[in-house]
């Protein structure tokens, strides 16, 4: 009499244990199955762009220094030529770079554009003769009229055909302080240099 009841209790207990274990397992599966569904929408990485330095107040550039290619030159101001192209520094023995005055000053939000010659006719090589040698990570220091200096880090150096000059990439909105250095490059033809060399850089720091 006691034996059957014990067996019955034992089987009942075993059955309930087994079933309850199975039930939990299924529940976990659904959990794990749901997790991946909820995790995919991480749209944060796209927003995680490295924190650039804070933008500076407007101050006209008066000089530029690029230690990697031995450039240390005063900077003049340039406007638009009659044909709608950007003015370039004069062909002179004391060649210098020029800042396009309709672009932001270095350190302001937006693409600040500085031009320089690769060659200056009878005077030989221009101030940006070695611009194409710049590499990613190298520094460019723009001295400003207010005594501050905006330090930029090269992100890209591109050589593009002048016929396909990327106007939007050079002058388009960027939402942070950036710098563009432009000169001519590539082989020289009867119409002049075939290419343009463009250095893209972003503000990394500012010194007082």
């Amino acid at each position: 009499m006691t034996l059957p009841s014990r067996r019955a209790f034992a089987t009942a207990a075993m059955a309930s244990l087994l079933v309850s274990c199975g039930g939990h397992g299924a529940g976990q599966d659904t959990d794990t199955a749901e997790r991946p569904r909820s995790t995919p929408p991480p749209s944060r990485p796209s927003a995680e762009t490295g924190g650039p330095a804070e933008a500076l107040k407007r101050s006209v550039p008066v000089g530029i220094r690029i230690p990697a290619i031995g450039v240390d030159t005063p900077v003049m101001q340039l406007g638009l030529a009659a044909d709608g192209t950007v003015e370039v520094p004069p062909i002179a023995a004391d060649d210098r770079a020029g800042w396009y005055r309709h672009s932001p000053t270095p350190g302001q939000t937006g693409p600040s554009v500085i031009l320089g010659h690769v060659t200056v006719g009878a005077y030989g090589e221009g101030v940006f003769r070695h611009l194409a040698r710049l590499r990613r990570g190298e520094r460019i220091v723009a001295r400003l009229e207010n005594g501050k200096a905006a330090v930029f880090t090269v992100s890209t150096v591109r050589t593009v055909a002048q016929a396909d000059f990327p106007t939007d990439e050079v002058y388009g909105n960027v939402g942070r302080p950036e710098l563009r250095l432009i000169t001519c490059g590539g082989p020289h033809t009867s119409d002049g240099y075939r290419d343009s060399v463009i250095v893209f850089a972003a503000l990394s720091s500012a010194s007082p």
Partner: protein, 122 residues
């Protein structure tokens, strides 16, 4: 004895039922959850659509209305490479040299013809 057997059976049945009830509950809801999951998925596209649409539209509008960082955009590539003197002189020198050679050749031919005529005439 019968009572004990019956009570044991009843206990076993209740235990099995109690155990299987969650299993059924699990199975039952699983379609239901799948439905509820699909219904949540129904709403989930909506929320995902809503946020994706909202930011997609917002940035699209923002740049359009945002002022240009470079208000006056020049056209074309800047001409930042005046032709080096050596190349200028090389091309210029080539032209000058060629024309001088042509003049010299024409002059020589004229002199030769004049002398030959004189020789035949005499």
């Amino acid at each position: 004895m019968r009572r004990t057997i019956l009570s044991a059976m009843a206990l076993a049945c209740t235990a099995v039922l109690a155990a299987t009830a969650p299993a059924f509950a699990d199975e039952g809801p699983s379609p239901a959850p799948s439905v509820t999951e699909t219904t949540p998925q129904g709403p989930s596209p909506a929320p995902t659509d809503a946020p994706s649409k909202a930011p997609a539209k917002a940035p699209a509008k923002a740049p359009a209305s945002a002022p240009s960082e470079v208000p006056v955009v020049p056209s074309g590539a800047p001409d930042t490479g005046a032709e080096p003197e050596s190349e200028q002189s090389a091309t210029g020198g080539g032209v000058i040299g060629g024309s001088a050679l042509a003049v010299f050749a024409v002059g020589g031919a004229a002199v030769y013809l004049v002398r030959r005529r004189r020789a035949t005439g005499a």
